[in-house]
Symmetry: C2
Subunit: 336 residues, 2 copies
């Protein structure tokens, strides 16, 4: 039975482990520094579909099926799936997963969705509510650009603080196991709003919530950054990462020598339009379910923190002058 230990961190005692995972990306991500790590990619940005939105659904479907294949189980063995994405009304998930005979829990955490879904899946398995639970999310550069910014055909330039939405999806399957990387704890973040209103600077909007969740976690568990092999954040990019360091240093927490950001790992920095890094639900999802999992499995990492960071805005809220609150959820993954 799970046991709460402090405000926000939930220790899971029954080794909900990652028994399968899958990642799918687009060509730009495949051409990046960790491109070899991903399971699947396609040179066609539409992945054989006729719209970008359907392409996004398609990559979620492929990610889930890849994870099921790796785990050697069928969708009927999966008791529940947690899924969400950035598209209005989360249609990436709906149309990616419809037809699957799996009870469906829709979630919305913006770019924090991977950690959010994996946290819920881990809790369900830890508590014996599910034997196998899945978490999946996605984003797509083209569907995000036209929904959040401008039609691609405008060829609009973006600011140096802006980030490129990753075309990618990641799926994770959780079940109890004694010999696979397992989720030791989950920390659900609060909504943190420091009044940032620049929709071209998501890193700055998300960093305060990342700092808040990390601070809470170290306090809850009485640990320090040195206790972990590495700490991953989702998609803070260059600006958000710098700001995260500054915010944490104020509390005497220095993560600099043990930190990496999925948004800084996924693209070739010299690429036009990458600007401050990668972003989108698919960013941390694809990196977790490839690069990170490979290194947990081969023993390069044995005890890590993985956090996805979300900016809770919509084009409507931005146009109405609202600020951009953030939320970040954190997971401690360990090797047995």
């Amino acid at each position: 039975m799970a046991e709460r230990i402090c405000n926000s961190t939930i220790i899971l005692g029954n080794r909900p482990a990652i028994i399968g995972y899958g990642s799918v990306v687009g060509k730009t991500e495949r051409d990046g520094p960790i491109g070899d790590e991903f399971d699947r990619f396609d040179v066609d940005i539409r992945f054989g579909e006729d719209t970008f939105e359907k392409a996004e659904s398609r990559i979620q479907k492929i990610a889930v099926e890849t994870a099921l294949n790796k785990a050697g189980i069928s969708e009927k063995d999966c008791d529940i799936i947690f899924a969400g994405d950035l598209l209005n009304q989360c249609i990436g998930s709906t149309f990616g997963l419809k037809g699957k005979e799996i009870p469906y829990v829709g979630i919305y955490g913006a770019c924090s969705t991977m950690a959010l879904g994996l946290s819920l899946a881990s809790i369900f398995v830890d508590c014996g509510i599910a034997n196998v639970a899945a978490a999946v999310t996605s984003s797509h550069f083209c569907s995000a650009e036209r929904q959040y910014r401008f039609p691609l055909e405008y060829g609009a330039l973006r600011t140096p603080t802006s980030q490129r939405t990753v075309t990618g999806s990641g799926a994770t399957l959780v079940s109890r196991s004694d010999n696979k990387p397992y989720i030791n704890s989950v920390t659900f973040g609060k909504i943190v709003d420091k009044g940032v209103t620049d929709t071209n600077n998501m890193g700055a909007a998300m960093a305060p919530s990342a700092a808040d969740t990390i601070r809470e976690y170290f306090l809850d568990t009485n640990t320090t950054p040195e206790d972990y092999d590495i700490i991953f954040t989702g998609d803070l990019g260059e600006v958000g990462t710098k700001l995260l360091y500054e915010l944490l240093i104020k509390d005497d927490i220095d993560i600099r020598c043990r930190h990496n950001d999925c948004g800084l790992m996924i693209y070739d920095k010299n690429l036009r339009d990458v600007n401050a890094g990668g972003s989108g639900c698919g960013c941390s999802a694809a990196v977790l379910n490839s690069y990170v999992m490979h290194r947990l499995e081969n023993g390069d990492f044995n005890n890590i923190l993985f956090m996805s960071t979300g900016a809770l805005l919509s084009p409507t809220s931005a146009l109405q002058g609202e600020s951009i609150p953030g939320v970040s959820h954190l997971i401690n993954i360990r090797n047995p």
Copy 2:
């Protein structure tokens, strides 16, 4: 510890009970047949805010605070909140709940959100992950009209099968208790798609998923409609309710004499623009956290099924010719 008993139904053994609840509606809902049941209403459709979206956030905030007040606890006593709504990127919830010091889990289930959030809150409490968990959702006629259909200023007429989005919010607080109505089981639905494409007929789009979840529940628990005082569906309206009856009769399940639909209860049927009934996340949320809870507390009901029904479309998916899949989640609430 929760124990799975069959495919989709999770029996909760530790009496996660409803210790507080709150409902807020607009004037049209207040003027309806069950208007006296709601905690709060405002004649101002903007609830003192300058946009409809901010009004929706405001009613979520009021609903949560009403529930906390009734339970006699403060927000610091609440360990986690599950929240979502119909607005793009769920901004109704973000801006309604930002500033609250409660770990935040964003969910998206369209109009199934109340049952979805309450299911998750109940599981967290049942498993000892939270002492107190909250679920909240909302919808607003004006914010929904302009997002899903037309600007209100057009004065567009709607079809007889269409439903009116409820301006309303409902919040529920769950904690273990031996003397309050408790959640005995939850059943997460699957995505069900029968190919309905008429965005002015949500009832028809959602009814197959409602039938699927009810069928699954009766099979899982080996019970019949006669075992329950009443079965509530969320917002099927006239068309969806008729279709639900037809679909269930094929499986020899007759719920007709024990069924009511929140979408059929909330409005005066003679009102212009109500058409086939009420809809929106706020519909079943407001009815559960007023009319239904009052009757559980006074003993009129002792064993009920409550199901919210969601249509998983977006304006984009509809314009791209996609069908409208549905998802429905079901809760069994009992008196001790």
